[in-house]
Assembly symmetry: C2
Homo-oligomer: 347 residues x 2
């Protein structure tokens, strides 16, 4: 498989965004988020989305020159109006604000309205944990997850991200959709013409299907529990921000992309660990827990017991050395955007 050099690709993506009139602040966060996410192995939310994002700017769905407005509601709360900015940028502004509030009062929360897709929630969670905060990041999304007991989707895959610093390595990072599997995973099976396992996806009548082409909605993780968590995320995002709920958000991918704004909502929080325990003690204690978990006897010979974020750390180490793999079809999308992306390929 061909591979991109992360540094060269970053430069070319920034150039491309500049060419499309995107501010350097927005471009910086889009590029940093997508590169980090691809290095961490989360291909569904990394550089593969870049051509789609560029189409979103051209279509008028994403505002390349936003006036992001922050207003404080108290010593520990803020509201952010994203002005239809890239979610990566609006989210970073909001998480920085939550951290600033937490520095002053111990905890900070920021609600974001009028935003767009923010890609990996981990990008914001990691920002917080790297500064000795506990980080929380949530977003709503267009309806894809079947409501429990219903035939069709109502809420989006509404992810939960939670991060905490460790002593000997990068932060603990849980970043999970509240669906059992992602829509992208269903799409991968469709592309490879393979059947999906029972209960990953449902048809329009709400029945489990194995033909990925017939899936119209996803199963919530753990049945009614994932469904309840998805609704929790919806409340924290859309209802608090006064934005549309998943059922009313235009689909992300349906072509052609219109100029209609998607008005995605997010919610971020940061908790200052030092108000509870010395951060060094916290990091050591959590590291000890992680080390104990990893040293448990695995279920199967040769298996490994991991904590959330471990697969991403393995990928990060490997891809930092070896570059970011890219499928031919996705590489073609980059070339359609600009032939110069050829220059980011590793020899």
């Amino acid at each position: 498989m061909i591979r991109f050099d992360a540094a060269k690709l970053s430069e070319l993506m920034a150039n491309e965004l500049a060419r499309q009139n995107v501010t350097s602040d927005s471009a910086r966060h889009v590029v940093a988020s997508l590169i980090q996410t691809s290095l961490r192995g989360v291909d569904s939310h990394g550089i593969n989305l870049f051509p789609h994002y560029c189409r979103g700017v051209v279509a008028g769905r994403v505002n390349p020159r936003p006036n992001i407005h922050v207003s404080r509601g108290g010593a520990s709360t803020a509201m952010v109006d994203a002005d239809h900015a890239f979610g990566h940028h609006a989210g970073a502004v909001a998480m920085e604000e939550a951290m600033a509030l937490a520095r002053q009062s111990g905890m900070g929360a920021a609600s974001v309205r009028n935003s767009t897709h923010f890609a990996a929630a981990a990008y914001f969670g990691l920002m917080a944990a790297e500064c000795d905060f506990l980080g929380f990041a949530f977003t709503n999304a267009d309806a894809l997850v079947k409501a429990f007991g219903a035939k069709e989707a109502f809420f989006g895959t509404n992810p939960i991200c939670f991060t905490a610093p460790l002593h000997d390595e990068g932060p603990y990072c849980l970043d999970m959709a509240t669906s059992l599997v992602s829509w992208n995973r269903i799409n991968n099976f469709r592309r490879e013409k393979r059947n999906i396992p029972e209960h990953w996806g449902f048809d329009a009548d709400g029945h489990s299907v194995t033909d990925p082409g017939k899936a119209t909605s996803l199963n919530p993780a753990g049945g009614y529990k994932g469904y309840g968590l998805g609704m929790m995320v919806e409340v924290l995002c859309a209802i608090l921000a006064g934005g549309p709920i998943g059922k009313d958000i235009p689909p992300m991918y349906t072509l052609p992309l219109g100029s209609n704004k998607r008005r995605v909502s997010h919610f971020f929080a940061a908790l200052d660990i030092s108000r509870f325990v010395e951060p060094a003690v916290f990091r050591k204690n959590l590291q000890a827990v992680v080390d104990r978990v990893r040293s448990m006897p695995p279920l199967s010979d040769g298996g490994a017991v991991m904590v959330a974020g471990d697969p991403e750390k393995i990928s990060l180490a490997r891809r930092t050395n070896e570059g970011i793999p890219i499928h031919d079809a996705q590489y073609s999308e980059f070339l359609e955007l600009n032939r110069e992306f050829q220059g980011a390929l590793l020899a």
Copy 2:
């Protein structure tokens, strides 16, 4: 089935706790929590636990006259040392503190150390939502949930509770263990000599069992996702409070109960809705979402599409009229404690 009158039972439980030297503050919260939880139909965390709690006081595990200490760490954070109080009492003190902080600064968080079992997390979440806060309540617990990819349990059932006020009815209330099913549910199957479905429980080698007598650990909800959420709860509770993690907490039920303190940790947060949106608007908007969900076509004829907390509301309405049902064996436990509980039975 025989039934208790909720009001008479409350009075007799309060008397019994007073007889055991429990302060009226502790008794008030223990009684209110257990009665509310049983009325809501959550029999695993309601009045059935009362005899167990009394044994905990006698054994010296629970402190009947605690000196609960609250210290603020900032405008939005507090730490609570529970002094081995009933978790119901310590949790209520902490949630009141989180709400007081949120009134001042928009968001409040309280970490609790040196506590005991707090029963239903919803008791605290509902306190917050009834005052127009978003409420969050978490606790750790002794190890019962199999670590993903391992043979045995490491974290407890570590529940997540999230609440939000509605316009036309009691709050939206999600209160879920991060395991697929509760240990009590396994125990019910054991008592009824029925097999459990595959993947509810595992034997000591980590293999799925259908004989409930062979289950030593539970499946996390949604596999690695529930496992990750359980660890999130552990970090918010034990690591932040400096308390023991699930693996190091003495089991709840193993007899005889020792005098060793369990040192359970909790975490609570409250978010002041009015800093983001008019509470009346929030309640109406969330009510509209709930009403839309409930009006979706059900998966099966005669089915109902519900949101988290709906089954509990149905039970609350019914049991408020009909009383709290109690199994013979559990009624006997009340009589062993004090023959006077006979006076709480409905004719």
